[in-house]
Symmetry: C2
Subunit: 266 residues, 2 copies
DNA sequence: AAGTGGTCTAGACCACTTT
DNA sequence: AAGTGGTCTAGACCACTTC
């Protein structure tokens, strides 16, 4: 808990109390940041620390304003940004809740593959393999670990309406996902990130994908029921939790004969 | 210019004046929208009408507040959203400007292909072909026209550091881009959307892309210097201007041997 | 009735830019 | 010095939810 602004830098009488709230900790950082950003950072720290867990209600804006000695409007602006980043969800009349991956609306936020037709798609996951391996140089780099560190490897196939469409390899840091077993994965219903969140206390916040066109290798061709060299979408994903800490690496091969990857540019 | 809220629906004394500003037009819409959304819509209408052109300064928040008979804070919230949608750019101390495609920062907003390495990429465009054609059924559907309507077709190749990477076909509504010639395209420096904006008064706001993996046809293989059936990224883009009116359709074939399409999930 | 987020106003001071 | 957007406060009323 700290405020980065000193009264001398930001001689705003309104801020005096807020600065006092962080009293005792002299900040070495010379960079300015507005009060609401500092409040946002404070709330984010508490989210990260698990003070309020996914799905739970956080204190009201008035309550937080009192706690941090700032006006409700300032807390509001802080929470506005947290809501824009999907860390938190507002519900009028009820309050503000910590975002969770256990919601129908969140199911498709991280799967951008859409059917060309508008027929309903019954998704189905099949776990092919789960094993503990040593991190390769590339996996170690992506997950911010050392080469040879323990990593959990998952291979699965996602089908739509019974037709295999995605072959996906997933690498997870062994230290974080210690007790993860094939049995648990097979029996679990719902999105993987929901499992990570509720059983391993690791909430995925943000991801980046790198997309390429590749030819199917014999292995992939077998799983997807196509001939080798069939063009496939290669989707490499790096997932991050609080503080941009990497927590997952994926590589998916998407069959895009009757599906497409949807991207919004704005 | 209209307000969708009647005093009886929104009995906020603060709004009374704002409602009066739209006086004379009875609104049939029964849906509620907050004042700042109405202000936002009003400003958007003026942007669309070209009252303030791209790159120009729009009136200050105080000025607009006076004009619409609402407080500066309400105008601010309206402009906040317009800025978030990239319709407008704020500059502290200067004012708020209509966004434009003639800015270095905007150059890469609509090209998500990145080099795998971090070597500098010298881009280069080569116009292959420009011709007037009749809209096929699919083009007509995408551009919201009738089959057979006049369409301008452009084919070009984009190279990085002298190596051809993208073959792109572009379809434009003939009615909007009437005077567009191959000569003008060849001599024009800078992003295509900049040309559209300053010479045809059509500003692209938003786009959607559908991505697939395909095998190179002989034609494409020739332009990109690869063998037929080489996997390529097929990127179909639909571009929209104000009011979600389609103004462009594209189909790019990206060679992703040393490049990748970058996508942020959040 | 009480509490919550959602909207709106009014006024103040700040940092930045231009005159 | 004057004008602009950026931040912060304080207070009001609203719509929605729960008790």
């Amino acid at each position: 808990m700290k405020f980065e602004v000193m009264s001398s830098i930001l001689p705003n009488s309104n801020n005096a109390d807020a600065q006092a709230a962080g009293a005792g900790i002299a900040s070495p950082a010379p960079t300015f940041s507005p009060l609401y950003q500092q409040i946002k950072a404070l709330i984010m720290q508490r989210l990260e620390a698990g003070e309020w867990k996914p799905g739970e209600l956080i204190p009201s804006e008035v309550e937080l304003g009192g706690r941090f000695k700032v006006s409700q409007g300032t807390v509001r602006k802080a929470i506005d940004e947290l809501a824009a980043e999907n860390l938190v969800v507002r519900r009028q009349g009820k309050g503000t809740f910590v975002a969770t991956h256990h919601e129908t609306q969140a199911q498709f936020r991280f799967l951008r593959l859409m059917a060309d037709s508008d027929e309903p798609q019954r998704p189905e996951n099949k776990i092919i393999e789960v094993k503990r391996v040593r991190a390769s140089a590339e996996v170690a780099r992506q997950l911010d670990m050392k080469s040879g560190d323990s990593v959990i490897f998952i291979r699965r196939v996602k089908s739509f309406n019974g037709v295999p469409i995605i072959l996906e390899d997933i690498w997870l840091p062994g230290a974080i996902f210690k007790g993860l077993t094939a049995e648990r994965l097979v029996e679990y219903r719902g999105p993987l990130y929901g499992l990570f969140e509720s059983e391993f206390g690791t909430r995925m916040i943000r991801a980046e994908e790198r997309i390429r066109a590749v030819g199917a290798d014999p292995d992939a061709a077998g799983f997807l029921g196509v001939t080798p060299q069939t063009p496939l979408l290669s989707v490499e994903r790096a997932s991050y939790t609080y503080g941009d800490k990497p927590v997952e690496m994926r590589r998916g091969l998407y069959l895009t004969t009757n599906h497409h990857y949807q991207s919004e540019l704005s």
